[in-house]
Symmetry: none
Subunit: 534 residues, 2 copies
């Protein structure tokens, strides 16, 4: 079994920043992660430095089972975070070790398990249909069985605040059962999201006093107070806070990880992230929005592109004199910027950092760095986004620093794609490309499932006799985002293409009003990038 | 002079629900109201029943001057609300009655004036460049001049919380000056938005004790706590709360009027709206988003279309038994609705609930219900998703229950789309459709920015001479998701199309390996759905 405590944060195990983007956050309408998406989300959260990553519900959801299997097989090497499996206590009248759902939690090999249990007597009696004694036994048995198997266990007390208000004794009995079973943290959940900050603080204080247990907090945003409620709970004594990236979640969503973390770090002075983590908040927020395929909220606290933007007016000149009189924090603290940027990528410091990551010393070429910043900014204004497309960014930086190869592996003359919905309902796609490669002009035609597939097939057919490495490259993922136009302009399409050669994966981006052309640009970048690394 | 107190709310003047959508809310990037827009916003806010509507800054902004002139000329007959003009205290070294900006406030004929004044010593000295004594005189003089002219005056103490933390004596002197001048309310403003709920409550309690003045609260959302901060301030004694519709405002925005009101009414039991007002919250929120030309936030607390939506699964059958166990309030209280999302885990219970929402009694047709469940499950296994596509689901349920119309509005024979990337780099898209409509076979060709745009244009060209209602229908949003295939199968594309006819919005879905065909399916459903509702 691997470690059960987060590594590298100054507060260590004293305070848990616990992320449930992959489980509770995935309840948001429209979100549907692939297993590869889930692995990418977990990697980004680990880069940020959260303490715990709840990966899903193994046994209940096949994708989650696969996620944990691939994580255990070495696809997810976490530096800071500990992986958590979520699940339910045993069913009524069954021994914990004989409950297949509980066994699936063990099989996931996650070192920590968070169990959900009902703590509102009405839910226990009407939904679970057992008495309180059995509900408590279900909690205690399951916790102690998992602890006996070497797992660290947290208990999510579902509907806790409503239950405690209605019948405090039952709610506390459930917590005590978890404590007796050996749970390390009992998490007070505002499952229906109806609480307000002062009430949360009062209840947390009271429960801490009455139980002596280590308390966590899990808030939903139905009163638009999830962040305020979470912070109030921490100020009242909770030392474990559950959040989701960008507040994704069912109904009005959950407490936003980035706002909660910003507040803990900047307002309460708590070192809940490893050094340098806070400055990654903005980047990670945007990258996770990209994977969820949800447009980032420009007005999001701390990390939104407008979070520190000031309309010219009342303060414009005063701001220049003393920006901190008009901002609640220095935006750099959370990796954001006071200017209105299309994204945070377009700063010199971050681009330099990014260059270093890609093996390019941009600090040594200040003019190339300036011109790269300018180029990235102007492309981002047109809808490009390099946050999730390192390979395209690398090509751009190579071009700006004069390090691009003199000769591209191929050049396009033209292409044509024809899509037919024929009489009878059959749908066909056919593409013809004319390219120059290896000193020759090549024309090739191919069919595909759709326009992009046909274009990719025709391009491969034209190039593969000339480029020996091409056959190893596969298009492994493809994402599309329609970007609303500015008034008076048309929408544009942004395409992200993830490629793989069996050894590594790389992502490229293309933007155009026409989705096929946008895809073409990303496909070309993918092949050019491979040709550099071959 | 007209009345200065809100009419028709049970709490009357004891509590002020104060809206600044038209002034502080208009600071949000991208918002630009015409005078007609401003009048429409004010009418909607009055219908809702807010107590005070801050209309703008007459004298400083020409549009605002015109707005007040037209309101005074009778274009704005307010039933509940009182109109407020916003402005600044007199300039340093000038008598209030000689300050042209102060005179413009009188000229606006608004019965109430809210004056903004600096209360942070650093802002007084560095931005205003006067000493504290003169800053206080500016406040007292201007307030007493306006009160002498028959106006009711509120004072916005800008940067109050930061100022009070840094130098409480100066901050309190400014409030006292306003009190001496005759201000009815002094509003503590968290201008930079950096506060948290427990701190706000503590400061409000302290200031109430030390000054004895009537206190208001104005919060910005930079810590994602604007709503929680506002409510905490009210619980600590503030009796005047300033908000903006949907939280529009500079940076991360302001406290959202709808969430604050929902909390005051549903959580604190305060009758801050006239009878029936709360049930208008959802409608007014969406209407104001429409005027601001900002897509409504589907996950907004209380009023978002997903605010009470549950993913089927864990709870669907329990929800049917007792919805209030799974909602923090009855959604009808705020004019919202409980939607049940149909997802991979679609069961009979959730589909039946969904049918009821759409006005179909599936319980009375158990066989149709079974077959619909089977159909939805098998379609979802192929990548269809109905959770965001009510209109497509309604068409499916109508077909399963034998209630679909016998004759579709049109049928497709075939289409062809040609995409060209020509020598020189120009990209073109052209579509030809062959359809049968109104007893005729019609062929039409059109160009577009991309394949879907061209197809939509060609279809409209073919149909619009025959379907009179078609021109009112607009494609308002378009989303694409590529779904990874199961091993051995190909990826498919899921397209969501949101349509609008100016009165309502509906969403349809299409799934196919070919993105253009998927879009076609969703476009067709959108038009068929409209033809049923026309």
């Amino acid at each position: 079994m691997t470690r059960t405590e987060p590594a590298g944060t100054p507060l260590g195990d004293q305070f848990h920043l616990y992320d449930t983007t992959l489980r509770d956050g995935a309840q948001r309408e429209g979100i549907s992660y692939s297993v590869a998406d889930k692995l990418a989300v977990a990697r980004l959260l680990d880069e940020l430095g959260v303490g715990y990553i709840e990966g899903g519900w193994p046994g209940a959801m096949p994708k989650d089972t696969e996620f944990f299997a691939r994580a255990a097989a070495g696809e997810l090497a976490l530096r800071h975070a500990v992986l958590v499996a979520f699940g339910s206590t045993r069913r009524a009248g069954v021994r914990a070790e004989e409950d297949s759902q509980v066994r699936a939690l063990l099989d996931s090999r996650a070192p920590v398990v968070t169990l959900v249990a009902k703590s509102d007597v009405r839910h226990i009696e009407r939904a679970l249909r057992v008495d309180v004694a059995e509900a408590c036994a279900m909690v205690e048995d399951t916790v102690s069985f998992l602890v006996g198997e070497g797992r660290r266990v947290f208990l999510d007390a579902e509907h806790f605040f409503d239950g405690y208000a209605y019948d405090p004794e039952t709610a506390l009995r459930v917590l005590d059962a978890a404590g007796r079973g050996g749970a390390d943290v009992v998490v007070l959940c505002d499952t229906n999201g109806g609480q307000l900050p002062l009430g949360i603080a009062e209840t947390v204080r009271e429960v801490a006093q009455r139980t002596g247990l280590r308390l966590g907090i899990h808030c939903q945003d139905d009163t638009a107070c999830a962040v305020g409620n979470s912070i109030a709970a921490v100020q009242a004594g909770a030392t474990h806070v559950q959040c989701t990236a960008n507040g994704y979640g069912e109904r009005a969503g959950n407490a936003d990880l980035f706002a909660v973390t910003g507040n803990l770090v900047a307002k309460l002075g708590m070192e809940v992230l490893p050094e340098g983590g806070a400055a990654e908040l903005t980047r990670v927020s945007h990258a996770l929005a990209e994977i969820a395929n949800i447009a980032p909220d420009t007005h999001q606290a701390y990390v939104g592109s407008s979070a520190f933007a000031h309309k010219a007016g009342l303060h414009a000149s005063a701001i220049k004199v003393d920006p901190l009189l008009y901002n609640h924090i220095d935006p750099a603290l959370v990796g954001n910027d006071m200017r209105v940027l299309v994204t945070e990528m377009a700063g010199k410091a971050s681009l330099e950092l990014k260059g270093r990551e890609l093996g390019l010393d941009l600090a040594a070429q200040p003019e190339a760095l300036s011109s790269a910043v300018k180029k990235v900014k102007s492309m981002e204004a047109q809808g490009w986004s390099f946050e999730a497309a390192d390979a395209s960014l690398e090509l751009l930086l190579l071009a700006e620093t004069g390090k691009a190869p003199a000769e591209p592996p191929f050049t396009l003359e033209s292409y044509r794609v024809v899509l037919d919905h024929r009489v009878g309902g059959e749908v066909g796609s056919e593409a013809t490309v004319k390219v120059h490669v290896g000193g020759q002009r090549v024309i090739a035609t191919a069919e595909g499932n759709g326009p992009v597939h046909a274009l990719d097939a025709a391009l491969r057919k034209a190039l593969s006799p000339h480029l020996s490495w091409l056959d190893s490259v596969e298009l492994s993922d493809y994402k599309v985002r329609i970007l609303a136009g500015h008034p008076g302009t048309d929408a544009v399409t942004r395409v992200l293409v993830e490629s793989s050669d069996g050894e590594r994966e790389w992502t490229t981006v293309g933007v155009h009003a026409n989705i096929v052309e946008a895809s073409w640009l990303a496909l070309c970048d993918a092949l050019v990038h491979k040709s550099l690394r071959k």
